[in-house]
């Protein structure tokens, strides 16, 4: 028999005391209580009790494959699964339904969600707006410590810090959810080790690409989910792999492997749902504008200074902030000037001279163009992104002066303010101006125009911006307006990366693989170094061309590898909860 059994007889409502004191209630109260308990039992027994409630939420579009997936995980998979739908089919939604069902039926009380750092806000906001679930995360003002919250979201990286992981490992979690779970595939990483040690009843892994390079990745993920399923790695390799690198499946045991996977993985393809989901396109408008003489002069003069300080070994991260500020707007450039003066990088004379130029610029060329774009489509909503609050305020002022209605959204707002801001944009205003931090948290399918007023130098961040709008439930093609000035770092990144490797039209979800070995900040540093270390324009072009070519090759290899591999494992085999067979494209 099971080792740990605890039988309790509790009296939370102090009924014995009431009986002793002869404190009687009326029949209505009695009936209500018995009905409440009977109802609670029915909810627990139900295959999936919360469907109607979720469907009635305006913020949610629920699809059949998501309901079936949740039912399957609850009723057939024992609450643990790899949710491996192709990108854009709403894996987060599936996880949310399962989570809510387990919480309201009492199957789970403590839940830990591990997500990439950039998705912490998004998960927190989505769980609040769509499922009315308040998850804590470490940046919340009322966050105490990981042991004090029953519902917790942590980024992969902060969860693996020694102090946090110690806290997390101490507890017995009812449910652990891991987004982008393929990043746990490497058994030698801290993330993998953490998951191995977390005590839990139910586990959900979310990944559109559970296998990318070889079968050992699949083995490692399944080992974390249901240890012992495939025996040892060498046994697994001998039986299911057809080559030493484990890149091909042994055809004799393919069916057996698929059968085992069908009890662990749920995977719906776009092909299977195209009957009821309309997938829209992305249309990128790259607007590399010619700056005015003053704008050019200001940018070049500050960039020359940045060059000089880079060559003399000045802190690269600081210089990068300066370069990003001067790429955004004249207002943010003024902030950069002030910072440089304060740090002693500018003399007072230099500062005054450059500030004089900045003050002559009354309206940025980019802003002027943006106003025209919005005027041309005045019945549509626009979601404008900028990296900086100062640019956000400047744009809000100009757009208001031009008669547009504007809502702001940024990382300084708390959860309630953020949600109110989204509602305002949804119901009242034409434009939302959001900083990147804010942009990660919400979905705006009701809008189909995204403006990158300045460009994050990390393509993952750009994807997150566009992903707020271009996702399941979007009814229109999404227009993406990308702004930069000629001969600036933003222009190089736009031309040589986005145009060359067509990142905007790349299957979303593969991006993280393309940039997987460079963290968020490092990607920006990488591009900045290429830019700032070039001695002349030709070298600059060559540098970016090489980066572009390398990424292009890597993208091709990656796309082929992932698609071929997934096709081989999942080919002609149904892992979809709707029961439809995957069709090779």
């Amino acid at each position: 028999m099971s080792d740990i059994i605890d039988i309790k007889f509790t009296d939370r409502s102090k009924i014995k005391t009431k009986l002793r004191k002869l404190q009687f209630d009326n029949k209505d109260t009695f009936d209500l209580t018995l009905t409440a308990f009977q109802l609670l039992s029915k909810i627990k027994e139900s295959k999936l009790s919360i469907v109607s409630s979720i469907k009635s939420n305006k913020a949610i579009e629920l699809y059949d494959h998501q309901i079936f997936a949740a039912m399957k995980v609850k009723n057939e998979f024992g609450g643990s699964a790899i949710l491996a739908d192709e990108v854009g089919l709403g894996k987060t939604m599936e996880a949310g339904i399962i989570l809510k069902e387990f919480l309201i039926s009492g199957l789970a009380k403590s839940v830990l969600i591990l997500v990439p750092p950039s998705l912490v806000y998004q998960w927190q906001d989505e769980l609040q707006t769509k499922f009315n679930l308040s998850f804590a995360q470490k940046d919340d003002s009322d966050f105490i410590d990981p042991a004090s919250h029953e519902l917790l979201i942590f980024s992969h990286s902060s969860a693996t810090s020694p102090r946090k992981s110690k806290f997390l490992k101490k507890r017995n979690w009812d449910m652990v959810i891991v987004d982008e779970a393929h990043s746990m595939k490497n058994s030698s990483t801290l993330k993998h080790q953490l998951l191995k040690e977390l005590s839990r009843k139910f586990t959900l892994f979310l990944s559109a690409t559970p296998i990318q390079n070889n079968l050992s990745e699949l083995y490692n993920l399944v080992e974390l989910l249901k240890p012992g399923t495939f025996g040892t790695l060498s046994e697994f390799k001998t039986r299911y792999a057809d080559d030493p690198q484990m890149r091909r499946i042994n055809p004799f045991f393919k069916e057996e492997l698929q059968k085992k996977l069908s009890k662990i993985i749920i995977r719906t393809t776009r092909q299977q749902v195209k009957k009821y989901i309309k997938f829209t396109d992305r249309i990128a408008f790259t607007k590399i504008l010619k700056p005015t003489d003053d704008e050019r002069d200001l940018y070049d003069k500050i960039t020359n200074k940045v060059h000089k300080y880079y060559d003399s070994g000045y802190d690269i991260l600081y210089l990068m902030v300066i370069q990003r500020l001067i790429s955004s707007s004249t207002e943010s450039t003024k902030q950069a000037l002030f910072k440089m003066k304060k740090s002693g990088l500018f003399s007072n004379d230099d500062y005054d001279e450059l500030m004089e130029i900045a003050n002559r610029i009354k309206l940025d060329t980019k802003t002027s163009d943006l106003v025209d774009v919005i005027k041309d489509d005045k019945d549509s909503k626009f979601l404008i992104f900028t990296e900086f609050h100062v640019t956000q305020d400047y744009l809000a002022k100009v757009l208001n002066e031009n008669g547009f209605s504007v809502t702001l959204f940024n990382g300084k707002m708390n959860l309630i303010e953020r949600l109110a801001s989204v509602e305002q944009f949804r119901n009242e205003t034409q434009i939302m101006i959001s900083t990147s931090a804010g942009g990660e948290g919400q979905n705006f399918q009701f809008c189909h125009n995204v403006v990158n007023y300045d460009l994050p130098w990390n393509p993952m961040k750009v994807e997150q911006r566009v992903g707020r709008v271009h996702r399941i439930g979007q009814k229109n093609d999404v227009n993406i307006y990308n702004y930069a000035y000629e001969n600036t770092i933003d222009a190089y990144i736009l031309q040589l990366l986005y145009t060359k490797i067509k990142l905007f039209t790349m299957t979303i979800g593969h991006l993280d693989l393309l940039f997987e070995d460079v963290t968020d900040e490092k990607t920006g540093v990488h591009f900045f170094k290429e830019y700032i270390s070039a001695k002349n324009e030709q070298e600059l072009k060559n540098n970016f061309s090489t980066v572009g070519e390398n990424l292009k090759t890597r993208k091709k290899d990656l796309t082929n590898a992932v698609e071929e591999f997934n096709q081989e494992v999942f080919e002609n085999f149904s892992l979809s909860p709707t029961g439809e067979t995957n069709v090779s494209n």
């Binding site: 099971s2 605890d6 039988i7 009687f24 209500l32 409440a36 309201i104 191995k196 040892t232």
Partner: protein, 258 residues
Amino acid sequence: MSQIEKQVNSLVLGYFSKIDSNIIEKNGLFDITIPEKYFKIFQTNKLKIVFDSKLSKPNDYELVSPGSNILFKILNECLDFGPVITAKLNPNKKNSRKIRFYFYSIFESIISQTELIHVDIDMNNKKIITINNSDIDFNETSFDSQIQEGVIDDCYVESITHIEQNLMKTKINDFKSQIFNMKQEELENINSEYKKRNKEIQEKYVILRSKGESGKNLEKIIDETEIIKNEEENIRKNIDNKYAIVIDFALVSSLILT
């Protein structure tokens, strides 16, 4: 309307009546005015609700069904009432008093089962009895005498003994063996995997020794053995936690019959 929907409807409207809310119904749309005392529960003084999902979106009324916040709040309120009431038993030949305890049984592990059960006891002799619901007259509720000290506790002890040893004994054992089987299946996989991993590593060790290897490579294998041992221990501990069983028989209401 499904049975769940009917119960939700009855519970929610019953609750709002109990707290003296003003309820106006028109074509399935309910406008509820909440008394001031209850504002803090619902964070508003007016609710627009429906029980039919088709009416929710077109009318902008909140659907009350499993998963909804309003239902969650009402459920929690009602679950905590812990009502004690009196009623008349017909016929009551010996004219003795009886007591009924309602327990909400919660069987929790990797799966969960719940059930509302009751135990009837004759308060005179503390013996378990069976009372038909049809013999209870809830309209007769007067109770004017005292209950002798200790009787309630004696009856309660009798009821929980009955639950553990008779009423729920089979269910407890079935649940335990169901969980045990699930746990065994997982443990067998773990046993087999770690047995093989240990064997593989031992074979590696023997080969290295036979080749006359010493020092670093052998140390590496010893370290690896230690890692595998810790990993296995940890997984076993986690499996124990995962399949731990908690059974709670929560006393949720009681009825005294005269």
